[in-house]
Symmetry: C2
Subunit: 333 residues, 2 copies
């Protein structure tokens, strides 16, 4: 019998392994129009912290004592749908499980010839699209402008910063360890970086962005947002993508005391959810595949093996244990 992971408790504050359970699922029982899929890869993402809460938001809450869900890439084992055949590579929202049956209409067929299936969950997946939309569509960075990316060694930040570099911007990033900061320069081609666990972002930006910040891609919120507001240039653009520093707060922390800077500096701050922008997928995929092929975009991934490691992989996101995209490999091939 295949295995799957259930949510069994809604935590306050930092989630624990005991909030989840690894359980046996029944063997798939496909009906007409269904496809049976063996997952190869599944995604764990910070936004899933919100799905542990029993509150309506853009993503529905996970149900207690039911299987979790999220994006996954798998291989078709069996098909009762004319659009799919065994061996097809598909992307679905049926993560956190090893094998499943689902209507073919809920699956997205991928290019099986592409050599890195897991990229469809990283640079070619939701986090890559998030970086692409947030940076290009919301902030429209121009060559020569300074772009600041927080959480820059993460799944979204590493792609956002590299796209900014490809656009001809000067790129400054923050990350949570010296090793990650080194990666920003050596691997991703950022112009400057700092370790926000050692240096206050306010001071670091004064040093590293002496001409100010034109675009801020915010993955972190909190003190990072406050520092960015103080260093933004007139007519700067902020894309509010995430706020990982806050996701586990039981009580809200004070917001940026300098939020009023948006007025004299004529700033624009926009929040977005990537699933509103799926019409951009074809152009996004063409651009990103081109940048990967040319070597302009490096795809960084942290891989753990086995569904039994998925919970620790997810919890590790909040301890900064990933560089690039955190992925769980469920099977080979």
């Amino acid at each position: 019998m295949p295995r799957e992971i259930h949510l069994v408790n809604r935590p306050e504050g930092v989630p624990q392994p005991s909030d989840f359970a690894l359980v046996r699922a029944p063997d798939p029982d496909p009906g007409e129009g269904d496809v049976v899929v063996a997952n190869l890869w599944m995604s764990v993402d910070p936004y899933m912290r919100g799905r542990m809460r029993d509150a309506q938001s853009y993503a529905a809450p996970w149900q207690l004592n039911h299987v979790c869900d999220g994006r996954a890439v798998g291989r078709v084992l069996d098909s009762r749908h004319p659009g799919f055949a065994p061996g097809d590579l598909v992307r679905s929202l049926f993560g956190w499980r090893e094998i499943f049956a689902a209507p073919g209409d809920a699956l997205e067929k991928l290019d099986a010839a592409y050599p890195h299936a897991q990229h469809y969950l990283s640079a070619l997946g939701g986090t890559g699209l998030t970086a692409y939309i947030g940076l290009l569509d919301l902030c429209d960075p121009q060559a020569g402008e300074t772009v600041f990316v927080s959480g820059a060694a993460g799944a979204v930040g590493s792609v956002a910063g590299q796209i900014a570099r490809i656009r001809g911007c000067r790129v400054v990033g923050s990350a949570g360890s010296d090793a990650k900061v080194a990666l920003l320069g050596e691997e991703f081609g950022f112009d400057a970086g700092f370790n926000y666990k050692r240096d206050d972002p306010m001071d670091a930006l004064a040093d590293l962005a002496p001409d100010g910040v034109d675009v801020y891609f915010d993955n972190v919120g909190g003190r990072h947002l406050e520092a960015a507001l103080d260093h933004m240039n007139d007519f700067g653009r902020i894309c509010a993508c995430g706020s990982i520093s806050r996701y586990n707060d039981a009580e809200p922390a004070p917001g940026p005391a300098n939020i009023f800077q948006v007025v004299p500096k004529r700033l624009q701050m926009r929040g977005f959810i990537v699933t509103d922008h799926l019409d951009r997928l074809p152009q996004f995929e063409a651009d990103v595949k081109g940048w990967i092929a040319s070597g302009d975009l490096r795809v960084e991934e942290t891989v753990v093996d086995g569904l039994e490691s998925a919970v620790e992989a997810f919890l590790g996101l909040f301890r900064g244990e990933n560089t690039g995209k955190m992925l769980v490999r469920l099977a080979s091939g």
Copy 2:
């Protein structure tokens, strides 16, 4: 000799009358190309609090022991410029003084036939244009949407709320006294209002905007912004116009603890300075004159007389002593 007002001290916190001095100025001594103007009306505005600080911002700091400046409407007394003749009505940045000489190129000739010259400093002036740009250009409210305006009985808020009503929106406003709240409904045609000195904006919006807020026109900041963020609908737009609750703070107050709402709700928050939008003046003036003529837009003004009253009029803005635009009448005609 005419009189003018000088800044003589830069205060911390709430400004005092002693920060200003009323002094005699030399009689104007016009050169070639200059125009001599007797001011009829001058504007006092909250943004001028920022000009009392010795810090670069979008408006230059007032210089210590020099005459203050700001928008004024006056009548030409004498002209050495071919574009102006005695009797012309002009708008300038030479407020806080009774009579001045200035290059004609620094003056804007107004329609002398328009019967309410002071409107060129209120609904047809900077505050009216601020309301027009912030509401229409930045937030694009649609008929049937709910628009929340804070400081709604003020110069900007009263116009913004009325334009929203003209656009077919449901309009909720906050003001600082029961009398002002009554005015919102009776004079300006708002659908609902509350006294923020008695009712917490968070509770008031829950009552008065049960279907949420689509557009928030922020004149106040602070708790108002926090309440709006909690009540915004998905894809809501916030125009950040001012933050009068904060202008006299010596130390910054905490920002909105719920700023992260911009992400799941896909909010857009934009700050703006009206002088970036002067290309919109012709359409603005045509629209507003039309709305005034049809009776759709009521122009509310609080008038004090004499340059010797200007400082108290300015300080009164921070005590909420105005309804609509605070104006100082310097002369009749």
